[in-house]
Amino acid sequence: MKTKRAMILVSTDAESLRLGANELLENLNEALEAYQLFDEVDIATITDAERSNIQPFVVVYPEATVYGPVKPGDARYLVEEHLYKGRVAEDLLAPPKTLTGQIGSLRAHKGYNPAEQRIVLEHAGRIDPENIEDCIAHNGYEALGKALTELSPEQIIDIVEKSGLQGRGGAGFLTGRKWKFVRAAKGEKKYVICNADESEPGTFKDRIVLEGDPHIILEAMAIAGYAVGADEGYIYIRGEYGHAYRRLKHAIEQAEEFGFLGKNIFNTNFNFHIHLHAGAGAYVCGEETALIESIEGKRGEPRPRPPYPVTRGLWDKPTTVNNVETLANVPAIIRNGPEWYRSFGTPSSPGTKVYTIMGNVNFSGVIEVPMGITLREVINIYAKGMKPGSVLKLAQTGGSSGSIIPAALQDVPMDFESFRKAGVSLGSGALLICDQHTCIVDLVKVLLQFFRFESCGKCTPCRVGTQRSYEIVDRISKGQGKPEDLDTLQYLIAEMERASNCGLGQTATVPIRDMLKYFRTEVEAHILLGSCPTGVCEMNLELETAKV
């Protein structure tokens, strides 16, 4: 495959079409031909309702320059300036304010990689994570100093709430509000817990933060402690992350030495201690109450809620449990203010999101981009396209408990609200991109194998539901399914969702639900025809006859 040096995206939503997007597209093609740029430049269409006032618009990558509104007559000028002469067509540039938060407003970094907006990962990979001085030279602990010496706890909570920061563990709860609850909760003793039990398959964003910039977490936890009125914090890190554990341990020692943790931080009367606590291998401990049980030296079995940890958490004291990525946003918000933070992302989901990309694509890894970019943009721009010969069939967003979405939904902006509307969960930010050789039944079977293994076994709907649904899907994958199996699955997932004690059992149903919603025919082929359309599943039809 010849590599292209640029890509043009043209908006083709209803409004753009009304304003001549088709003609614009035609003219752009003509101009590309006139300048003999066809081999070097890709052109494609997009739909993006968020940029409603600049239609029709054109985005040119890799620089991610946004032009709009572009009239059909501007096409030749745009191609000549930007793609032939290699400079920005200034007078066609979309007004910057309307672009905030969209990928189009990003400046490309030096080199060939597409533009990112790094807040969480700002320093990861750029500083020596074992050297606190290097960290301090890059704004490290500046926000903590500002918080302790210039701001009251209430002001901090107010700033974080105004920033609109939502929990990045998957649920999307407002962080500022959570802190407010903990601050308001009765009791002298309170705790801050950093949930670093990143076990959602396909998710390794937190590992990158912990390994690349451990001090950002310590700083954020101390700020959280000051805000909610806690003097003690725990980092619960999964046992498998040995390297990150050592980095954090070292970072805590250094921070104590420099007086950023411990007693009288920044010569104030604020004290804060952090315990580093390693898990021992249990997916369910990512659930906050299971995590708390685990710290307390018990099996990681989630507690019934309410009471929520904000009133009764660790050792029954008010506790805020925040995800690594969530916390890593906090220092920058304190330094730059809530308005700054709101200039990224979408109005309902401000800020950035760290995604891990993997699967049948040319580039796997971590990116941080504003909330609201689409899956198509991620695949085409950041993942550098599907592997040769691969066509997108489906993507799984957010790890095992995330949604399976068909290619048809790849233009839904990835933010909490848009996804919620589309019935999709954003989850942890893992993006598993699967091509046409992926069998939905096989994939869901793998996911259910995971859930039946990881179910803690405390409540029946989850313990039995994950096992039974695995058995059914396993049967279907061998060509031994019965038509009524699909109804049984529907029934099972409804009960699991309704009656499971925690998120594990409730979300274990998502892959099944999406399989039946988007790929029913493929499942039925396994059952009715006894064959796997993609040829992935090994059929074992003999067994069925033997059984009968």
């Binding site: 076990s199 398959p201 998710t203 046992g239 307390e296 030296g297 990309i357 699967c434 793998v446």
Partner: protein, 165 residues
């Protein structure tokens, strides 16, 4: 790892783990993890010793053997059974599966003639599946003891196994 466990050794290992992590409830899992790491698994004697040693004049922590056993059997990284000299953990999650994990798993089982959870008769290998270890960008992934291998192909398996005595 996995040398025959003698009682006095267990006592010393448990004492060391308790000294490192303290006599508190939140130290229980770290203590068991350390014992598991040193001995290769958590023998019944170790559980008895933890119960005995963690309670004392300086500590009001009392834990039953059943609670400790409950922990050792709940968490995946802890084992109540002896394992082989080398433990292979293969990631069986979707991201590795999609990029060819199943072929690796089949090849591992065939080469070692083991099923999930089994140990070879010469005690050299234990084969396990593991949940995601966060190395998804280089899948399929497997771990031998603490060594990580990414982008594994079927052809590489004999070579990887050959590194271990």
């Amino acid at each position: 790892m996995n040398a025959p466990v003698v009682e006095s050794e267990v006592k010393a290992v448990v004492a060391q783990a308790i000294e490192n992590h303290g006599k508190t409830f939140d130290a229980l899992i770290p203590i068991l993890s350390e014992i598991n790491h040193t001995l290769g698994y958590i023998p019944a004697e170790a559980i008895r010793e933890v119960k005995k040693q963690i309670h004392g004049p300086t500590s009001n922590v009392y834990v039953s053997e059943s609670r400790l056993y409950g922990l050792a059997s709940f968490y995946d990284m802890l084992s109540t059974q002896p394992r082989g000299r080398h433990v292979i953990k293969f990631c069986e999650n979707a991201p590795c599966h999609i990029v060819g994990g199943k072929a690796i798993w089949d090849a591992l089982r065939e080469t070692l003639e083991l099923e999930n959870g089994e140990t070879t008769s010469d005690n050299k290998w234990t084969l396990l599946t593991t949940s995601c270890i966060g190395l998804c960008s280089v899948g399929p992934v497997l771990l031998v003891d603490d060594d990580m291998y990414g982008n594994v192909t079927v052809e590489q398996i004999p070579e990887i196994l050959g590194y271990y005595e």
